[in-house]
């Protein structure tokens, strides 16, 4: 068998395994979300289908696929039909560069547990994709098309408004998301995700410590980027019916939610890779166990997303846009410059200096951001619009 076929076979298996991993994470996540939210709200949550209601997402999927697929009369049929796929396909493609484990060696061949990862066999060497993180960013910016086109093609003014809001939100938060990732990349010196993981292992510290600010910005911007609560403005039911997917039904409706959950898993995977050491523990361990550590770290982030949704109220749209442009973007750039400054000028042991600076900076930013969110982002009405009656108690001035 020629080497290229062996290469393709191994990659095909990797594609199937990683795709299947994401496809099991999605229903699991839906179930977990409903259970955890129910717990937070002191309800039981799904508990009828299967043990602990575990099969509920599958029952939902079967139900949705059996429903009538309505295409309203005034819609742009082609764009309307393709928009859910335009959202979902980029979401799935981003898994190509996520490393779920290190490099395994079988006989004379070795390959990374990553779809676009390294492969070394007799007579064939394929390096890891160099622009790894750029691929993730590019695909997340392509997700905007699905959102905006589903809103536009639906021929419904609420869909259009939801699509516009959502796309403007996604665009705005892509900026701090992109800048926040440059901090860890400066320490890693590569765009390869595998390289980022190995850099953390070499330094002996997870980037969450020296890049605490970047971590916070990334996580919050990521939440906004995938339209998750508390930034789920496009789905603000009180204002917009269902947002950009109001007109969709049957499985195409389900696809919007699948894309959202796939994106959530991917953002968590990127966060785990960049800030929590990815698939590596602190010591050298068995390569075949690394996917387990990876999935555990992934689950921690997924739980955090659910927890946040159950806890925080939805942000108002003007506050949301202000937060992205006026707070996250400059803070992320500041973090980047501090990191560059430390690397350029620290006399010795860059990572130690960076860890101390990073942790202090993180704490300072936490208090600064809290202050900004509580006081700075309140809408100030012009004098002429202010109510005449002055509030009697502090804290209820608007």
């Amino acid at each position: 068998m020629p080497e290229i076929l062996v290469f393709l076979l191994i990659k095909l298996i990797l594609v199937i395994v990683i795709f299947a991993l994401w496809m099991t994470m999605v229903p699991l996540l839906i179930w977990l979300e409903r259970k955890v939210i129910a717990d937070i709200q002191v309800r039981l949550g799904p508990n009828r289908v299967g043990p602990f209601g575990l099969l509920q997402p599958i029952a939902d999927a079967i139900k949705l696929i059996m429903k009538e697929d309505i295409t309203p009369a005034l819609v742009d049929k082609w764009v309307y039909g393709l928009a859910p796929a335009m959202l979902m396909v980029p979401a799935f493609l981003a898994i190509a560069v996520i490393p779920i484990g290190g490099v395994v060696t079988i006989g004379e061949r070795s390959f990374a547990l990553q779809i676009m990862g390294l492969y070394r066999g007799p007579g064939l060497f394929v390096p890891e994709l160099d622009a790894g993180i750029l691929l993730v960013l590019a695909l997340s910016s392509l997700g905007v098309y699905g959102v905006v086109l589903s809103g536009w093609s639906s021929a419904n003014k609420y869909s259009l408004l939801g699509g516009m809001r959502s796309s403007a939100q996604m665009l705005s938060y892509e900026l701090p998301l992109g800048v926040a990732l440059v901090g860890p990349l400066l320490l890693a010196g590569t765009l390869r995700l595998n390289g980022v993981v190995e850099a953390q292992a070499d330094y002996g510290i997870w980037f969450i410590v020296p890049q605490l600010v970047a971590f916070a910005i990334f996580l919050m911007s990521g939440t906004a980027e995938i339209n998750r609560s508390p930034f789920d403005l496009p789905e603000a039911e009180q204002e917009l019916i269902g947002g950009y997917h109001t007109e969709y039904s049957s499985f195409r409706f389900a696809m919007f939610f699948m894309a959202e959950y796939v994106n959530m898993v991917t953002i968590s995977a990127v966060a785990a890779t960049f800030f929590l050491g990815g698939y590596r523990l602190f010591f050298n361990d068995i390569v075949w166990l690394q996917p387990v550590w990876f999935v555990l770290k992934l689950m921690a982030f997924l739980y955090l997303f659910i927890w946040v949704r159950g806890t925080l109220p939805r942000v108002r749209y003007d506050q949301l846009m202000k937060l992205g442009w006026k707070v996250f973007l400059p803070v992320a750039l500041g973090n980047l410059l501090v990191t560059g400054l430390v690397i350029a000028f620290s006399p010795a042991n860059t990572i130690l200096v960076m860890s101390i600076v990073g942790a202090l900076l993180g704490i300072a930013t936490f208090f600064g951001l809290s202050y900004a969110i509580v006081y700075g982002l309140r809408r100030r009405r012009p004098e002429s619009e202010r109510r005449v009656v002055e509030p009697t108690r502090a804290g209820v001035s608007e």
Partner: protein
């Protein structure tokens, strides 16, 4: 070599077909989408030329940012109905364009047939990390320092320009 030729022919067909579709689409939103596909095929041309980093920038900037703005503008101006009522103010341009297009095609055919391109020596195979982010960075930040810094001024001008364009009363 054969594989590259096949890929080139496929990509070229896609690029030309979507390019024609951009012009022929009655619905401007469809035209924008065809242009996006066109940009993807251009990005793949870069990949074939071992310019990986540029290929990703092509997708990130053109498909991911610039075309979104195009889409916003085209979508919200709601031109769908208006297009057909627009009168062609220069009816001659269609024919002049056609004539020039045929001339260009003939010229390309003659030049290719004359074998001009055969005299170009084949380039040596690029080094393994050619076109990846690190060599691009070295070029950009050491060899082309001045153009890079001037880019920031260009972006500044564009930022100011966008505000001037969008200004109404309040800002």
């Amino acid at each position: 070599m054969i594989a590259e030729l096949v890929i080139f022919i496929i990509l070229g067909t896609v690029a030309v077909a979507t390019g024609v579709a951009v012009i022929l689409s009655k619905n401007p939103v469809h035209a924008v989408l065809f242009l996006v596909i066109n940009f993807f095929s251009v990005a793949m041309f870069y990949l074939v030329l071992s310019a990986q980093f540029v290929a990703f920038l092509q997708i990130l900037v053109y498909a991911g940012a610039i075309m979104v703005l195009f889409l916003f503008v085209v979508m919200l101006l709601n031109l769908t109905g208006a297009i057909e009522s627009v009168q062609d103010k220069l009816p001659a341009q269609k024919w002049v364009g056609l004539a020039l297009g045929i001339a260009l095609l003939l010229e390309a055919g003659v030049v290719t047939a004359a074998g001009v391109f055969r005299q170009v020596p084949a380039a040596p195979p690029p080094s393994p990390n050619f076109g990846t982010s690190a060599p691009v960075g070295v070029k950009l930040f050491f060899d082309y320092l001045l153009p890079f810094e001037v880019t920031s001024v260009l972006l500044l001008i564009a930022i100011v320009g966008s505000i001037v364009l969008a200004r109404r009363r309040t800002y």
